[in-house]
């Protein structure tokens, strides 16, 4: 029902629907408050038993009132109705019920309650094992579970950002406002974040005055001062959900969740806030007192009941009762009464309780049961004089308050039990964090204000800043007089964890089944493991367990929390970009040219490389690749190899430096020449290969594989800075700076002669493995390297990247009569397999120079990283070496990954003799070919072995051959 007053804007009416039925509310309402104002208490069904449920709370701790919001692609399950800001046109639907909320066929589960006890799944669905995936799990997910996904892509945009401040204040209630005011006045850069859309926290829900004025007056004054402080950033609708290392906090700002659609704006922003100090002023969450049938719609936390009345002018019923073990419950009754709601009784468990006003007080009594199928009708009160049923549509339960210390726990800080306050208080805090207000156990408004101020003064003092405590308004400073009552003993089911349907009975059973450590209790019963992380249940469950074990709560254990404080959408954690922008894409300088010439691209790490170029009439990739390979071997082919890492190495000791990095000698390399180089890891295995070109005495350019461009550069920097800082060496990556093309094939020289500016390319002047700086196409500076990956007469030519597009276009244009063709990575792979050149498949981190047939390259005349370890006995004894493999039947495939066995040998791990690393169809040979590591391979040339591919049931006869299928003598590349 709707009451008078409240912080809602009655001048505007908002229409919304719940389960298809239309209702009205006002700006300032939450979905839950608007539904209560419309007389709707039933908002959901429970997780396991499908029990009718209404809101338990009025905030983010809500376990019951979970709804599906919106429709279509924006449909969002498990939204807490208690924090959904009402907007015009809002559509909400109940979930976890069929066919309707009022009649849920799955409520049959409730009749099976004795069967569905703690550990039910573990005990029941153990066999047959095969049934789990196909039968049990789908059935359980259908019956239990919460809302459903739309299965459509999220249409909204999400953003992220970074903020830095001296002080982050989490929570904009009494303590948080006092802290932010104190710190911001002192000139500190302050961020004040609150999950609500309105500052004030619990002050908004209370009727208490500040300086004889409504709290909203004081809040308005504070906010107007905030507006004048440029060093203060207020973040409303922002939940700080995690405390991470080094003073970093995760926060989600709900930018547009309160709007029908985000329009052009982002929906949510993930902020990473780096704060030198943090004050946790997150308030406290009221706890309930389990009693039999305590989960009916209308039974809620007493503080929530008065929050609905005071802030949202809504009451779940016109006649209410309160069940309490402390004075705060009485204030809920007084507030309801002041709002014109009839108070049937205050049932106080304390025998000596006194009334604070004119209402019926039943002291020394317990609520022991309730009635009402879809909503509360009456409660049963038991006292030493007997039992009675009291009619009421709502019951406020006041069991005391638990400090919201979750963020204080995010770095494993265990809460500490306080026997005076009967509550857990923050224990070891993350560095830089202070806790203030109700979160630190300072529950009265006066104490919260004072503690917020004090925390700010101390936080700033730790930063070397002086803050003057703000003058605080006079505020209530009541004691609670709490006498612990953790649950009402009895036979019926008394819910502890509403969201996961865990009762006192379940805890008792877990205890009986020896699940006594708290961590076991939690997992056996699933208590506290729902999306609310047990905010309204954990402490109560611990207390019940303590009672069963006969230990104190402190000795029973404690609870711990992990991020996120409240649920965070994966979309906002993902940072927003999806599809092609999900990660950076690197394009080669000839990308546009390749695209325009039919290239099909392949992802190579972040790079997009042309895989092959489809020509008219080609319908299968093999047609394109075979053509490119043959054309390159016959005429000349051009491939963009810019992606290979390039590192500029300069300095007086550049040669000595490279000598220590590469297994083979580099310092002896002559100026104007290139040498193939092999790097080893510290453990002696092959790391990466590439080339070193010596441009001048103290200037080298080294290349790496595409995949290892970054790691090798990092490795070299580590060696330069940490291993040998005494060497005069300077490094910088030039991978992106130069567009580099491989020009390979018998006509390569003829083609290049057409673009170089009077440079002598003859074999005598520019032999195999030569390099030079020169100019091309009329003065453009370029670098030329005579190196070959394909076994053909080949060069690599580099120009500043901006000219890459024009250079390939020019070479293709000028080479038409030479049979020029662009080729992609697929042909590149075929060409290098035909030549027996190792690449990533062979340099996979498990192989050695010796296995690669490069054992002699590891120089014995000098030391280098990995050289000593490569001479380990075990590595020297490794029999497998690189060989070529040809199918005996030319029509047979060669399958990479297949394992190699002696023909007709039994195929076991012990008889495994190697594996196939690379395979391709060789148009040059006319059949599939492969490279692989084979035990004693060099001595087995000509032998027929078996390649086993048990995944596809293949057994293929292969002949062991030289790894060099093309030009084994190397005459072509020296031509």
């Amino acid at each position: 029902m709707r009451l008078q007053g409240g912080l809602i804007d009655r001048s505007k009416t908002l229409r919304f629907t719940f389960d298809g039925k239309s209702y009205q509310g006002h700006p300032g309402d939450t979905l839950a408050s608007a539904l209560l104002a419309n007389g709707v208490r039933l908002m959901g069904r429970s997780f396991k038993y499908h029990r009718p449920r209404g809101p338990l709370s009025a905030g983010s701790e809500e376990p019951n009132a979970l709804v599906e919001l919106r429709s279509g692609a924006r449909q969002e399950p498990n939204t807490r109705a208690t924090v959904v800001e009402l907007f015009d046109g809002l559509e909400a639907a109940s979930q976890n019920r069929w066919p309707s909320l009022a009649f849920d066929a799955m409520a049959v589960n409730d009749l099976l309650a004795d069967f569905l006890t703690a550990g039910f799944y573990y005990k029941t669905f153990m066999w047959p094992r095969a049934f789990w995936e196909k039968l049990y799990e789908p059935a359980i997910r259908n019956a239990a579970g919460l809302g459903r996904l739309s299965m459509e892509a999220d249409p909204d945009a999400y953003d992220k950002g970074f903020l830095h401040c001296d002080l982050l204040v989490v929570g904009g209630g009494a303590a948080g406002l006092a802290a932010a005011l104190t710190a911001a006045r002192a000139g500190a850069s302050v961020i004040l974040a609150d999950e609500d859309h309105r500052l004030g926290g619990r002050l908004l829900a209370e009727s208490d005055l500040l300086d004889d004025q409504p709290a909203t007056t004081w809040i308005a004054d504070v906010e107007s001062e905030f507006a004048s402080l440029p060093n203060l950033r207020i973040m409303r609708r922002t939940t700080v959900w995690g405390a991470f290392d080094h003073g970093v906090y995760g926060a989600v700002e709900r930018v547009a969740d309160h709007l029908p659609t985000p329009a052009s704006a982002v929906r949510q922003t993930l902020w990473r806030i780096t704060a030198r100090r943090m004050i946790l002023a997150a308030g406290a969450t009221e706890r309930h007192i389990p009693f039999a049938n305590n989960d009916r719609p209308g039974i809620m936390l007493a503080g929530a009941m008065r929050a609905y009345a005071n802030r949202w002018a809504a009451s779940p019923a016109d006649r209410v009762a309160v069940f309490t073990n402390n004075d705060d419950g009485h204030h809920s009754a007084l507030d309801m009464k002041a709002k014109g709601v009839s108070v049937a009784a205050v049932i106080d468990a304390r025998p000596d309780a006194k009334a604070f006003g004119d209402y019926r007080l039943i002291a020394g009594a317990h609520v022991t049961s309730s009635r009402g199928r879809l909503g509360l009708r009456s409660v049963q009160v038991t006292h030493d004089r007997g039992r009675e049923w009291i009619d009421c549509g709502a019951l406020g339960v006041a069991g005391g308050w638990n400090p919201n210390l979750q963020l204080a726990s995010h770095q494993r800080g265990r809460p500490v039990w306080d026997d005076t306050l009967h509550a857990f208080l923050p224990g070891d805090l993350p560095a830089g964090m202070t806790v203030a207000g109700a979160a630190a156990g300072h529950g009265s408004t006066q104490a919260a204000l004072a503690s917020g101020t004090k925390a700010a003064v101390e936080a700033l003092a730790a930063l070397g800043m002086t803050a003057l405590p703000a003058t605080l308004p006079r505020a209530e400073d009541r004691a609670s007089g709490l006498h612990p009552l953790w649950h009402v003993p009895g036979k019926g089911r008394a819910w502890v964890d509403f969201q996961n349907d865990v009762t006192v009975k379940d805890i008792r059973l877990a205890h009986k089944e020896n699940m006594r450590p708290v961590e076991h209790l939690k997992r056996w019963t699933t208590l506290g493991m729902a999306t609310d992380q047990g905010k309204t249940s954990n402490v109560t469950a611990l207390a019940v367990m303590a009672e069963l074990t006969g230990q104190s709560i402190a000795a029973t254990g404690t609870t711990i929390f992990r991020p996120p404080y409240t649920p965070v959408s994966l979309s906002v954690l993902g940072g927003g970009d999806t599809g092609t922008h999900f990660r950076p894409r690197r394009l080669t300088p000839s990308h546009e040219w390749a695209r325009a010439h039919g290239a099909v691209f392949v992802e190579v790490g972040q790079w997009m490389r042309a895989q092959y170029f489809v020509q008219p009439g080609e319908t299968h990739w093999r047609q394109s690749v075979d053509r490119e390979v043959l054309a390159t071997r016959k005429g000349v082919g051009i491939c963009d190899v810019t992606t290979l890492g390039k590192i500029d190495v300069q300095g007086a000791d550049a040669g000595a430096f490279l000598d220590r990095l590469y297994a083979n000698p580099m310092a002896s390399l002559k100026v104007g020449m290139v040498r193939y180089g092999l790097m080893l890891r510290e453990d002696g295995h092959a790391y990466d290969d590439g080339t070193c070109a010596r441009l001048t005495e103290d200037h080298f350019v080294v290349t790496t594989t595409t995949a290892q461009a970054g790691p090798v550069y990092r490795h070299m920097e580590f060696a330069r800075q940490c291993l040998w800082p005494e060497l005069d060496v300077q490094l910088i990556s030039t991978t992106d700076a130069w567009a580099q093309f491989s020009v390979a094939g018998p006509n390569a020289r003829k083609l290049l002669e057409r673009i170089v500016d009077g440079f002598d390319l003859s074999n005598a002047a520019f032999p195999f493995m030569a390099c030079a700086s020169l100019t091309v196409c009329g003065g453009l500076r370029a670098r030329l390297f005579r190196i070959s990956f394909s076994g053909e007469l080949a060069y690599e030519i580099a120009v500043p990247a901006r000219y890459g597009h024009a250079l390939i276009a020019r070479m293709i244009e000028l080479g038409a009569d030479l049979g020029v063709t662009p080729y992609g990575t697929e042909a590149l792979g075929v060409l290098r397999i035909e030549k027996g050149h190792p690449a990533g498949n062979e340099l996979n981190g498990q192989t050695t120079a010796q296995m690669l047939g490069m054992g002699q390259m590891v120089s014995a005349k000098k030391d280098a990283i990995g050289a000593v370890m490569s001479r380990r006995e075990g590595l020297l004894a490794e029999p497998r070496v690189l060989v070529g493999l040809l199918p005996v039947n030319p029509a047979d495939p060669v399958v990479a990954g297949s394992h190699l066995f002696t023909k007709d040998a039994e195929q076991r791990t012990e008889t495994d003799e190697g594996w196939i690393t690379s395979a391709a169809f060789s148009p040059h040979i006319g059949s599939a070919i492969g490279l692989g590591f084979l035990a004693n391979g060099r001595a087995r040339l000509g032998e027929v072995i078996t390649a086993a591919n048990p995944l596809q049931g293949q057994q293929i006869a292969l002949r062991v051959v030289s790894a060099h299928f093309v030009d084994p003598e190397g005459e072509r590349l020296r031509a």
């Binding site: 992220k160 690197r586 005069d728 910088i732 700076a737 196409c777 009329g778 000219y803």
Partner: protein
């Protein structure tokens, strides 16, 4: 056939266009800067610090510039020297002549350069920075430059002036960087 070779090759910008890309969103303008020449300068052991173009080399985190030439620190004993509208020249050779005994490497085409300007002063730039990079604007004010991560890319972020922000990212990822910058700029712009 050879006569065609004397036709000079035409350069493309990092974003693949013949002309630089530009986007205006409210008070913020984002523009590709293909004319920026870059060369790295590293001190060799025992060399004294040069003052190329008369500009003293800035200390860690620093940026300094004058007359179209600027220098910022990139690593211990290492800087990037930048010059407006000189990308087509052999700028590394020019820098080498200005810094005798130092290791100089051409970097012009290693990077895509994007300039962001705000017509209303520093505030929009600070808002934009908060969305792009994890840098504390109080420490990275005008006259600073640093290397940091932006959308999983390594970039240099330079603050030449209160209302300006320069971002240098690897040239091959220019498209991804432009997308990240323009998305953020469009969201910040009123």
């Amino acid at each position: 056939m050879p006569e065609a070779a004397v036709q000079p090759l035409l350069a493309l910008t990092a974003l693949g266009g013949a002309t630089p890309r530009k986007a205006v969103h409210g008070v913020l303008t984002l523009e590709e800067n293909p004319g920026l020449a870059l060369a790295s300068l590293a001190l060799r052991r025992g060399t004294s610090r040069p003052t190329p173009f008369g500009i003293p080399l800035p200390d860690a985190g620093g940026w300094t510039g004058r007359d179209g030439v600027s220098i910022f620190w990139t690593a211990p004993d290492q800087w990037l020297v930048a010059a407006e509208a000189r990308a087509d020249s052999d700028f590394a050779a020019t820098v080498a002549a200005e810094a005798p005994g130092c290791s100089v490497t051409e970097q012009t085409d290693g990077f895509a350069a994007f300039e962001i300007t705000a017509s209303t002063g520093e505030a929009p730039i600070l808002s934009l920075m908060a969305k792009l990079v994890n840098l504390d604007p109080r420490r990275y004010g005008p006259g600073t430059a640093t290397r940091t991560g932006l959308e999983h890319m390594s970039v240099f972020v330079i603050r030449p002036a209160p209302g300006r922000l320069s971002v240098l990212g690897m040239r091959s990822a220019a498209g991804s960087l432009w997308h990240a910058l323009e998305t953020a700029v469009a969201r910040i712009a009123p």
